[in-house]
Symmetry: D3
Subunit: 307 residues, 6 copies
């Protein structure tokens, strides 16, 4: 007799899947996977990191005099791989949003072309982030160390790529790209967040930055900082309204110390400082300083909600 | 002359190991590894994830019409691999707990059979968690995105499997299964925690849920929430007593916002809400709201201990 | 026509790199990578973990009677691989610090020899950490479980190795070693931190321990604890002064509960306890207890800065 | 200065490729690979071997009671992978043979369906080959040994699959399949050869069997036997005529010893024997015996040509 | 509708397997693979080659001063892996030969111990083969080149190991070991062949050496030489008698040129030479020279049979 | 007690190695491998094959419009990897030939530069070989099939590269390159052989072409053809003289059928034909035809020797 009787378990799992698919109004038509793949995106992101920083994140045996060959080859291969994932995302959207399926191929090509054209600007922004990390951390010894070792820099490389997907209306690819960094760094930046140049996250574990956050230039934040939403607006039927601005605006040159929680569409004015562990649901004027003591009286209202 | 003189280091490490083994009363008998392997469990968990969600977490080229072949083959292979790990765990326990070694094979088979039979229910529960994530996060676009991208869902897949090992008295396999998710997500759920259907952890980094926690249905928690123990009870000899209920009970429909810390065997009543960063060591009535302001006066006693 | 026009993107990325290199005063000379490699360090660390704990972290098929062969072979291979990375680090330093390039080979060999000699002491210290974890966590079932499953133990294995690199003046190798653990565990210990025997970090996600921290023996800390700097001292020109003591001193037998933040060169006296979420910028006397309530009035001054 | 000046070599290789493509009237249009892939066929053949002989050529941990799950899953995956290769072959043919490109998808699916249906008969024939090897070699100890160790059996598994591709008019897939075995075994069977049941090749290195050979049942041949063509027929313009019968017919129960060379459309009658090293360009009557001595006078004419 | 209907093919293959198993009187009991594995033997042989020639066939980064660590570790690992394969072979034999199943474990250990003890002698013999190749080929530039590049040397490493399995009555392991070399080199030496020191095969493709061949010292042979059997002796019932001496005896210092075929239990006397392509079924006296011309009249009898 | 007592075997193997090293006058100085590596050459050859034929032997996802990026990157990487192997070969030669060790680096760079410059001509020659195969085999359907599937073409790619190493005086790299093809194809071409354009080997198994062979243009040969040496010339001391011309000269447009053996410095005149299995030790006039019958009387002298 077999040690395990597999058949009833297979049947029972099958029944549950059919139930689920019915409840989700999924077709039971035969067919393969119709969804972008995190594994494919991992490879694409690795290639793009090499394209952006060939001598630090490219292959170990690369030499400066032949960088462009490497970049050209890798970029071509990565863009074609990306094209396939974009196609999958657009097809997926089409099923859910009633688009005309026939336009998908053309839109996918246009999308990847636009994405490719954005890469130089992404590199330029990332250079400012690397410098910000180097200047912002007394322990940093060189820009190379920062690029290779700092989780905050890795998170920003992924974010700036993910944000590009986001603004090109490919939210799944965006999400996969940022979750890859989240898993490695503990830094959770929603791809929708708008972040200016020279951004630096130190240590980073536990940082959460919400979808509609707007962050200026030369901002510095520490581990466990949350830029969250205070409350989810609902429409007349009690359903969550999506896409409304609900996260903080952080102006240029702000510093936010570890563990601070800032919730809602508040504005942290240019050059202000938010102390560690501060709980904040109000605006801070430019140049202001908020400490934990200041923030004790602020939350007597409803429990803060946070996305 | 050799660049490095390896021999004295090898000897010196050997001496330290012998010392350690003596101090731990380990046998010096020759023999191989007698402990379950995290690598083996990684492969088994990956297979089980494919078995539970074939079209999303199974192989990329899988097609709906032949899922059952894939599931049957993968399940059979995973169960036999698991059988070997269960055997190792039971043998390990036998050394420490004085069991009869001869029964181990029979017990291992029974254990894996029971584990296999629990898989359909695990899938069913996970479906509720996926829906809870989809409905609980305004940014979620589809159940597929939730399943593939949300760290909280990954943590729950591992937890529901780990918990099954735990209640079948295989704590090492349980622990390995949950640590694999902890390392990827920053979410640390003890395998002993009892968690009802439709549970959703958003963002997740820094969440800690202790061994004797009991969580109802439709509960939602955010990053950096701790459900911990207030104090370790000791017996007459000052030794820690194990297994006593020491973590919170969270009833149905509770929401706990980011950074809240709830310690000890308190009860959060049905439908109550705990605000962000709240520090809580008392019960909350059903439907109650606790904010940080409310919680300021509560901890004047001993420093709270937490497991 | 090609789908993607790669050439302009390659050129444009090239221009940005040249700009960056000029701004960083990098040579444009052809040449290969001149920087230690995180991938190489990953392999070296894995080998060293096997050397230190052969029957738990070595190969699955290892047997006790032939451990020494495995250790000798693996150590030899790891030390030669490390020698190459040390060479790269010293060359990199030489470019930045004006050392005599000719001495590098000799210094590299001496450095690796010294590192190798330190391994037995590292193992000895790690044994105390393992025991501390076993005794400190009521849920721990055996020292083996602790060694294989506890993220805090993994972080300490990496830290004790990284610290050895640090005190031998190889900060990049040190940083890479500790970041590998940070990424897996969410525990961020600067390689410069001095940590005594029997140190235990429970859960661990979000822990940050700064460069000049000094920690005694038998200290226990929980998740999300920060030992940070209060303020970065600047010199007359407003530039950050590096290397000044700026993180806490934690004496023997101290316990720090989850989420506590201790900033600046304060001293936590022998045997004292710091409660959860406490925010602390002052000394604590030996045997003292600090709770969150005690710490409310302390931060009225400037927002606390933290490195 | 760079060690190697890559650019002129790249240019020069580019010029040669353009020249070649012009001379071959290849388009210079951009585009990807449009040809079946030997690597893909290697994986497909490996899967098919597992499907045909699951307990011997399938995965090591397979168990008899769950073979069908493995087979179903592997077959499905292999057939879809094959479908892609068939598509590539048909597209390639279409470019060369002026077919209607639109029919390709339908033809590809039909072709793979037909191929799949032929698998049971292929297995049945291979069972006779395995038995023939077992009975024909006094050194063979079991049918299992024969299946796992005999190069002649491996060659026949590939041949019977390759022949199926051949008769379904997919000569490139056929060729790739048989070359994979040729490379491993030194046995070169053209996929066009028609071979009856219970065929056994012993040792095998150097065996060559030409495209239009017809081999009956229970035939046995040894290493370095050639069944070749005597002369390539040419048409009126001196061009080689393709596809004409030009290799030997070997009737049932014939034995051909090592090194024998049989050329042209001759017939070896039922049950005859051809001795080692014999050079043969004439018919052999049923039951006849030919030795090297007999064959000395036969080749005074033109030098034998052989395909 | 699914593209492929897998189910009927799975069923039909299942029916054929059941038929085959009935015809082979195989049990239909559930169970796993019970046969040694070529993949496992490949790994074991690779390890043994490293153990025998560490600085040439061991890992690239090995250094002379730490060879013994590598050898000890690799040997231990290889012997334990071999032990498992020996167990499988003995169990397989037990099913077929009616041995007492209980003794298998003890016999397996003894067998591997004996095999291990034979390794030094195997290395010693192989050193003579390497020197013979170096001295016998005017193109050989060093013993290192011979060891790394000569297929004849690779074949002999496998043969001397396979022969050890053979004389310890493990014919399947022996066969697998020699087929691995056959596939790479085109040299087919039956593991049973007895071959003296300083044996050299040049070029090698197509060489076949039969089971009961006995070869003296300092023998040299070239590509496509066959040492075969003339006729298979049958017993009274017409069944092949196994194990009878039926292949040539080749005395010391004999040279056999390419393509020569020597069949039956003939003796090539000490120091004789056999010319290229010679066909030989008679003894050659010591010091004799045989050319193709001499051999023309010899085969007028029955077609030579050859195993 | 341990199952295997490894120590005496390790010691005994150590003693044999020391013996061997003494007998070979090897230093016992510690040190690493000082010999080129077949594994490294395998990778280099694979890269070079992709560089030479990017759309057929390069990566599957390569596209025509970006070939040059791929080629530039791969060539750069391959040449640097080759540089390291050339260094090892030159160092090895220096030990044996008393060269000045200091010149090695410069010579290695020059050698690889020269090798790189030869690649375009190698590609040009290989194009003629591919066309020769396509036109010479009635079964060939396209030049693509020939390039991907024909063992004779693979052997020639390796040979033309290996020959370049040979004429640049790097015999070990040459040998390794050609043995890689020998192992896969059964075709053994010595790297020293000079072979003209449009060379075609059909089937190929068992072909041997000796070091000093000179082959003209448009030559075609079949499986098991040997171009060997008749006798090794010895100097006054009876030692083999190396490097003397001792293999056949084959003029343009010659065809040699399967199994023919041509030995010694004979000349096959332009356009002649050599029949299958012919044994030949004399010149053939231009346009001549030799059949097996013609060759029977030729070998009455000494047994032919063959290298």
């Amino acid at each position: 007799m077999a040690v395990f009787d597999i058949n009833p378990i297979v049947s029972s799992l099958n029944a549950i899947r059919q139930e689920w698919r019915s409840s989700q109004r999924r077709s039971r038509e035969p067919g393969g996977r119709e969804f972008p793949s995190p594994q494919a995106m991992t490879k694409i992101l690795d290639d793009l990191k090499g394209v952006l920083f060939p001598m630090r994140l490219g292959p170990l045996d690369l030499r400066q005099e032949s960088e462009d060959f490497y970049i050209g080859h890798t970029l071509d291969s990565a863009l074609h791989a990306l094209l396939h994932q974009v196609r999958l995302e657009l097809q997926y959207q089409a099923r859910h949003r009633d688009h005309d399926n026939g336009e998908i191929e053309a839109r996918a090509i246009t999308a990847v072309q636009a994405f490719a054209s954005a890469l130089p600007d992404i590199r330029r922004l990332l250079d400012t982030d690397v410098l910000a990390a180097y200047h912002g951390d007394p322990a940093a010894r060189s820009v190379d160390e920062v690029l290779l070792c700092y989780p905050g820099v890795l998170a920003m490389i992924h974010h700036r790529i993910a944000h590009q997907f986001y603004i090109q209306d490919m939210p799944l690819l965006a999400r996969m790209s940022s979750e890859l960094a989240h898993s490695q760094t503990g830094i959770d930046i929603h791809p929708g967040a708008q972040i200016g140049a020279s951004f630096f996250i130190d240590h980073g574990t536990g940082v959460v930055i919400g979808e509609t956050s707007i962050i200026g230039e030369r901002v510095r934040i520490y581990q466990a900082v949350t830029l969250g939403a205070k409350r989810f607006p609902t429409d007349g039927n009690g359903k969550l309204e999506k896409g409304l601005p609900r996260h903080p605006i952080v102006e240029d040159d702000v510093v936010i110390y570890a563990g601070a929680t800032i919730l809602g569409r508040v504005t942290l004015g240019k050059g202000c400082t938010v102390g560690g562990n501060v709980w904040l649901i109000d605006d801070v004027p430019p140049g202001g300083h908020v400490t934990q003591a200041d923030s004790q009286g602020m939350q007597s209202c409803d429990p803060a909600v946070q996305e």
